[in-house]
Symmetry: C2
Subunit: 349 residues, 2 copies
């Protein structure tokens, strides 16, 4: 048998109520009694029964963090920052919380199911990271679920995700559109006129916004876009490699390749090199996110830095009620253009 509150109470010669109060520290208990109780807890090696406690108190110390792909540093960095603020053990005050990272793998069903599971656990808060899936039915289902969670007292924060109005969720959105635009404008400024674009998976807000920014920049400079210049893929290196070969096949005269993110850009670099093209002399490459490894690419990657850790930390604090929500419940977080070696003046054609 495991040790229960009652056992501790018996040993300390007090009532279970007193033990509970000592453990929760939310009610005056005489110092001498407290010591006796703590001693008993220690001697019996007592561990609180989480479910029982959650049931009785109607609250839990679980905080959920939903990510699309935990193996991707983009999410890893955010999750890490969020978790650090949630406290987990080692967190500052306020009782220990269990921050749980849930990997949706980008699947709508899993996203929803995880939300239900967290709702079931009566999670104290939930942070949803990464772009949303653009499917009307799924969006609606998510919104309903989020609203339900919020109504049940769970604080919901969207980090790097578009706002979900009317759901009671707080949103910290990345300005993907603006970032994409700045990036492409930088390339145009260098003289590029024929730019390939490797977009992420369709039906994702992140994909769409970055692409929109890119197109806005082109439009602003009177560059007419050739439909052959855009290829969709996944957010990984492999995809970038293949998409680049495809782009090259469609139009070998491209002087720049803009990728949906840094991993894709790395794949693009590899494909270009394997095709005998130099970066940036023959083709410039640009990424997005500025993940740690981007600076190690050769040449170092020109990209848009997203303050992942900062945004995550803020989301975590908001989730814990330790920081005020932004006005209107929505804040936009901008990216910073990082110009590095992978972008340069195009060769004269």
């Amino acid at each position: 048998m495991t040790v229960t509150l009652a056992d501790v109470a018996a040993r300390a010669q007090v009532s279970p109520a007193t033990v509970s109060r000592v453990l929760n520290g939310n009610y005056p208990v005489a110092a001498s009694t407290r010591d006796r109780v703590l001693k008993a807890v220690d001697e019996l090696d007592y561990v609180l029964n989480g479910p029982a406690s959650a049931l009785a108190a109607a609250t839990s110390d679980l905080v959920g963090i939903l990510v699309n792909d935990i193996a991707d540093p983009f999410f890893g960095i955010m999750a890490s920052a969020i978790q650090a603020e949630i406290g987990g053990p080692g967190g500052r005050a306020g009782g220990e919380r269990l921050a749980v990272v849930c990997n949706t793998g980008g699947s709508p069903e899993r996203e929803l199911t995880y939300l239900t599971l967290l709702q079931r656990q009566r999670a104290a808060a939930v942070v949803l990271t990464g772009g949303a899936i653009e499917d009307a039915a799924h969006q609606a289902a998510m919104d309903t679920k989020v609203r339900k969670l919020a109504d049940a007292g769970t604080r919901v924060v969207l980090c790097g995700r578009p706002p979900a109005p009317e759901t009671g969720a707080i949103a910290l959105t990345f300005d993907n559109r603006g970032g994409g635009q700045k990036l492409t404008e930088h390339l145009i400024g260098l003289g590029h006129r024929r730019l390939g674009y490797i977009a992420g998976p369709e039906e994702r807000t992140t994909t769409r916004h970055r692409l929109e920014g890119h197109r806005a920049a082109l439009a602003a400079h009177g560059i007419e876009e050739d439909p052959r210049w855009t290829v969709h893929g996944r957010y990984d290196r492999r995809s970038g490699y293949e998409a680049t070969l495809e782009l090259l096949r469609r139009d070998p005269s491209l002087t720049a390749v803009v990728a949906a993110n840094d991993s894709v850009a790395l794949g693009a670099c590899a494909a270009l090199r394997d095709s005998g093209l130099r970066i940036p002399e023959d083709v410039s490459v640009a990424g997005f996110d500025d993940l740690p490894f981007s600076i190690d690419a050769v040449p170092a990657l020109t990209t848009v830095r997203l303050p992942l850790a900062e945004a995550g930390a803020r989301a975590g604090r908001i989730a814990m009620g330790r920081e005020e929500a932004p006005p209107g419940g929505i804040a936009s977080v901008r990216g910073e253009l990082m110009v590095r070696g992978s972008s340069g003046v195009p060769r004269v054609s």
Copy 2:
């Protein structure tokens, strides 16, 4: 008020017991009754109360995954693989489980506290990943805790971590020593005799084992090691950069740098390049782990591939009782030497 089992029961005109049985599907219920119950569940939008359920059933559907640094793909990849097997939502049979990833940040206290938290939640299983901390007191504390968890029925699996005998935990250990040895032997085979080594943080089993392998290779070939050739650092790029500069300062005649892992190796490459040295013509570089980005380094990194995803998947299956534990509860997983462009024949001195 939230909807309870009783509400559903009332609506379906059955007893709460029946509703519970329908939901758990572990007891015969007439098809017509089941349908009525499910309909009521649906109409009322009922969500099971996790804590209450866990309390009554004395089991929970939580599975904990402890990682040192979730922002590091090394752990991200393992966690992802483990979680995929745990099932989480979308997992195959056996009721949905909530796989929770806990970030210890390499801190002994947090490691312990997370274990307590999971114990508190009566987790169904716990997977501990990554090297252990080599501190007698902490080791003992961990072992006791693990034993307690195991005794309480929580399945504990160590993935990429040294075995903890007598604790009831199952271990899938990486053969870091063997990998380190193979790697250094490869360099020696190329003709290197003056090899710098950038080790990880001290007091970590992973660090020690890899270093031991390296030294074993040196010893096997009669190479006497110069104490100046080893520098300790952290497992990140930055650390690799700095350590390399230090190594170069101590002995500019080194012809190879072996790093504790790939991130460190990348930092080393950057430092070498910044010092005007070519890779591998002037100095060869080798990493460890073979993370996805390693192949994108220029030149691609020679390293030891650890089957992170495979090991994680296996650990996950074992944790779920879906795969038999290895004989003796211990299995060693070997790494594979990946020879790539970053290592070559040393320049003639």
